[in-house]
Symmetry: C2
Subunit: 280 residues, 2 copies
Amino acid sequence: MARARKRIGVVAPGARLEAAAPDAVAAIADALYGAEAPEIIFHPQCFLQDGHFAGPDAARAAAFLDVANDPAFDAVWFARGGYGACRMVEAAADGLAPAARDKLYLGYSDAGVLLAMLDRAGCRVAHGPMASDFKRAGGDAAIKRALRFLVERAPDTIEPSARAGVRAAAFNITILSTLIATPYEPDLSGRVLMLEDVGEYLYRIDRELFHILSSPAGRRAAGVRLGRVSEITPNDPPFALNEEEIVRHWCARAGMAYLGRADIGHDSGNMIVPFFDLGD
Amino acid sequence: MARARKRIGVVAPGARLEAAAPDAVAAIADALYGAEAPEIIFHPQCFLQDGHFAGPDAARAAAFLDVANDPAFDAVWFARGGYGACRMVEAAADGLAPAARDKLYLGYSDAGVLLAMLDRAGCRVAHGPMASDFKRAGGDAAIKRALRFLVERAPDTIEPSARAGVRAAAFNITILSTLIATPYEPDLSGRVLMLEDVGEYLYRIDRELFHILSSPAGRRAAGVRLGRVSEITPNDPPFALNEEEIVRHWCARAGMAYLGRADIGHDSGNMIVPFFDLGD
C-alpha cells in the first residue's frame, strides 16, 4: 500500500546544521501542506560537531547511506554546505545500494560533490535550496520551493530556462573546479552548465573558469549560464572584468555558447535545476 | 664567440613588478659578481598596469615571447606572481620558437602555469625565487640564490632532497589544482611532487589536495613532499588537521608515499627545484 505522505531524510555531508532548523522547516511544511505535510526526518548526524564538520568523515558517510539506501525514504535533502562532502564521497559512492536510485536528492554548494557522484551513479539529483536556508532573509520561500519540488515536483520551482526539457546541471564554480578529472567529475555532455558562487575574489572566479572551460569535462557542456556570484571579496586594484564578462571571456576562448543568466545562487531566490528529465 | 656574461630577461606574466626591483636586483648582482655580473634586462612590460595585471593579456604574452624566443638570452626570469599567467599561457605556448628550448626559466606561485607549459614543451624550468622577492625580509638571500642558479647552477641553491638526481616538480597547491586536465597539466610521472601555498584557509588546502591526489595527473607522481604553507587564514571553528596532517591524509587515501617536508615556500628561504636533470 502506498504511503500517503512523502518521507524526506536530511543528512549533513559538510558543516553542522543549526539546531533551530527542524522546527523552522516543520512549521513551513505544516503551513504548506497541513495533514498532508511530508515527514521530514533529520538524521541525528546533522547535529554532530567535529572541528569543521558535522561529525567525523565516517559518521557523515554512514548517515548519508542510512537514508540513501533505505527504501522507506522518498528523498535525501542535504542539510547544509560548508565544507566536507569531498572527504566522505568515496565511502558514499562505495556504499550505494539499489534503493538509492529510487529517490530524489537536493542540495547545492559543497553538496555539489555528492550531486555529481549520484548523477554519475544514475540517481535523480537536483541543485536547489537546503534545510539551512531557513535562516536566510526570505528563507521561507527557499524552504517552500524545496519542499514543493521534493513532494510534488512543482513546475514553477524549476529554474525558468530549465523548464522546457533542456538538459542541465548546476554547480558552485569552486566546487566544480575541484571535481575536474576526479572519479566524481560530472558528465556534462549535451547539458547546459549553470554556475554560481559566493564569497570569492573575482580573480579566483576567473582562474576557476579558465580551469573548468579549458578541461575536456567543461568543454563537453552544451553551453554555459551564469547564476549569481554574490558577496564578492573586494580586490585592490579592482579586477578588470565583472563576473559576466569573465564567463563570456572564457566561453569565447573555449568556442562555447554563453547562454545568459541563470536564476540560481547562494540566496533565497535559488531556483531548482534538476539534472534529470522531469518526465522520468 | 661566446658571451662572457650571462643575459637574463625578466618578464611579468601576472602582476606588475615594483619599480624599485631593477636597482635592487642589480646591486645584489654587482655585489655578488662584480664585473662578471649577468646582464639583467627588465622588459618594459614588467611595469605596465591594466587592472589586476602587468598590462593586457596580449602584452604579457608578447613580452614573454620576446625574451623566450630570443637566442641572445640565456634565461627567462619571472618577475612576480600575483595572478594572470593562465590568461596568456595559450598565446605563449602557441608562439614558442626553437630558441625557447635553449634557456632556463625560473619562477613560482602564479608563474607555475608557465613552468608547467614550458616543461611539457621540453624547456628547462625550475621553481624558485623571482625578482619581486627582493622586498621580502631577507630577500637578498632569495635574489642571490636565483642568480647563482641562473648563472652557474650552483648546487647549494637546490632544494636538499632534489640534489641527488631525484626527478622532481614543485607547484603552488592552488595553481596546480587549476591546471588539472587542462592542456597545461604537468606530467608528474616518476617525479617527486613538492607543494607549497600561502594565504589560504586550511579547508581550501584540504579540498585542493583531494582534487590533486584524486586525479590521474596527481597520482602519477612518485611521492609528495610538503613545503611551507604560510599565512594560513584563521578558520572558525579551527580546522581539524594541520597542513602536514592534510597531506598525509590524502597521500594515504591515494596510496601514495608522503616523503616529508620540502624547503620551499612563499618566503626568502625558498630553495630551487629544477624540473630537469641538472646534468642536461
